[in-house]
């Protein structure tokens, strides 16, 4: 198994573990990275030239976020593969999770049980749809 996929799986398991222990603060972090690592794996495996174009662009610009670029490209490819409705649904969930992860890690906000449930829902939805479409 790819190390990226292995890390994605470990982060997914960490969400369940942390939730059981009520360690809410780290759950958004693990939930988001579980999705992002799998997303990068999909790009590297299935959309090689697009992934390389992102790396080239970022190297030329020397600015910009690899996360934003990868997520946007993933959504674009996902829409071609399935349909716009599902890509819209999945894209906004991962973007929401990404932004929330940053707030959970760095801002003075509580990660309460309701948010933990939402993080887990977003993460599970991502893995469910990726599994259905990419068989991983």
């Amino acid at each position: 198994m790819s190390f990226l996929l292995e890390k994605s799986k470990q982060n997914e398991l960490a969400v369940t573990f942390l939730k059981d222990k009520q360690v809410n603060a780290a759950i958004a972090h693990c939930g988001y990275y579980s999705c992002f690592q799998k997303l990068v794996f999909v790009l590297k495996e299935h959309f090689i030239s697009e992934y390389e174009a992102i790396q080239t662009l970022l190297a030329q610009r020397r600015k910009g976020s690899e996360h934003d670029q990868c997520i946007d490209e993933f959504i674009r490819q996902y829409a071609k593969l399935t349909d716009k409705r599902e890509a819209h649904h999945l894209g906004n969930k991962i973007k929401d999770l990404k932004a929330f992860r940053i707030e959970a890690d760095y801002s003075d906000m509580e990660v309460n049980d309701r948010k933990v449930e939402q993080v887990e829902t977003n993460m599970n939805e991502f893995h469910r749809l990726v599994k259905r479409n990419f068989k991983i």
């Binding site: 958004a28 910009g64 976020s65 934003d68 997520i71 946007d72 959504i75 829409a79 716009k84 409705r85 819209h88 649904h89 894209g91 906004n92 973007k95 929401d96 999770l97 990404k98 932004a99 929330f100 940053i102 707030e103 760095y106 801002s107 948010k115 939402q118 993080v119 977003n122």
Partner: protein
Amino acid sequence: MTIDNFIKEALEKLHNNFPNSKLEYQYKLISDTHFIKISPKYLFTEDTFIDIDFDLNDKFRELDFHGSLCFLNEDSLVELDTPSIVFEPKAIEADSYSAVLEILENSFSSELVITNIKTQQPQLLEGATSNELDVACSKFAMAA
């Protein structure tokens, strides 16, 4: 085009397509993300909204803006605490009591319309008695 103009045009486009929606915009520096929240949440899955989402994201990338553009609804993780731009639902325009009832009965957005009725009562139901207004509200509440 500046990011401010882009956001303004985006909100106007959404508001023109969904006049009964409430739109909120906030940029969060911490995540370098431009958030647009639309209420009520059923609009989030409308085909027109999905098409606009893709169009705006394509344009956002073409114009090479920093950060990310993200659409939210009431179920989203991220909450907007201090939106810098808010578009309220447009007032319902009708020239007769029966037209108002028709709008109410055909509307999907019950909560929004009830709110509008209450806040826009003099313009909406000019000439209607308070009893007629009560009937309209209760009829609509039952339908909702």
